[in-house]
Symmetry: C2
Subunit: 146 residues, 2 copies
Amino acid sequence: MMGALLDEATEILRSRGGRMTSQRKRILESLELLGSHPSADEIFAFVSQSDPTLNLSTVYRTLRWLEQEGLISARHFHFDEDRRTDRFDAASPIDHHHFICTECKSVIEFDNRLIGEVKNQFSRQTNCWVQSVSVVLYGLCPNCQK
Amino acid sequence: MMGALLDEATEILRSRGGRMTSQRKRILESLELLGSHPSADEIFAFVSQSDPTLNLSTVYRTLRWLEQEGLISARHFHFDEDRRTDRFDAASPIDHHHFICTECKSVIEFDNRLIGEVKNQFSRQTNCWVQSVSVVLYGLCPNCQK
DNA sequence: AAATTATTGCAAATCATTTGCAATAAAAGT
DNA sequence: ACTTTTATTGCAAATGATTTGCAATAATTT
Ligand SMILES: [Mn+2]
Ligand SMILES: [Mn+2]
Ligand SMILES: [Zn+2]
Ligand SMILES: [Zn+2]
């Protein structure tokens, strides 16, 4: 249960002559601890508490590597203000979708088999081959509806 | 048919003491001509042909204003390379969705009533109020499947 | 035509992210 | 353990899209 990401990453590194460093360990850890969808900066701030020498570049390099390996996914949620910062998702890209409360910025993950249907119908109608689907709902969570 | 955007924009300007300038006219025009989902830079390049004095800031200012007024929408399509440039959509945010061919970068617009269902089911289950839905499919268009 | 002020062009600032490079430290070889 | 190899890091500078301050310009009003 705990350390799934770290184990997978370690395995990939081993198989390629890569090195599991203390900074990578901490970044992996933080991805599991910070459940939400943290930005590189948030991960940096969190890990910095326990390792003040960590550099933001290392955070980015590690995240991009994990992304390439398919262990995490980068997303842009279209917040009112900040359209531009990537958020990182410890889960694989393909198996869930997101609701964003535009007021408190909380994120709810969900899935729905109808989404598969949408994909199938589109494929059938256009002969496009659909590899992945991104669904993002924006609105107000129960709390923020007042 | 032609000039819908320009007409709406002109009307809004009129009602607020704004001014319909030549640069705004050209930018609005280009949004209708360039059917695809152009970036600010692409709009800039296009309009520059007919007005070499136009400045990129003006393009951005106009686009952001149109976005605020709800006449166009800004989107980020999650292309492999460039995750960071906004693309502008002459259509309103709410009434259609997109398929992106990750090979040739072409965009196909579509809609599907099931998406409304997904939204309704989510609302019912979580008591969240959903304001907007973004669906983006990534894959290969018929041509690029070889 | 003169006055008013919304809008522009220009240059500089922002801000998230990336990159080059020399210093550091895993892992491998001895 | 000691040395070698080289993957990885920290640091500082670069990038690239977008934004912003401000003086100059041009629509509109008077
Ligand atoms: Mn998620
Ligand atoms: Mn569109
Ligand atoms: Zn909320
Ligand atoms: Zn294609």
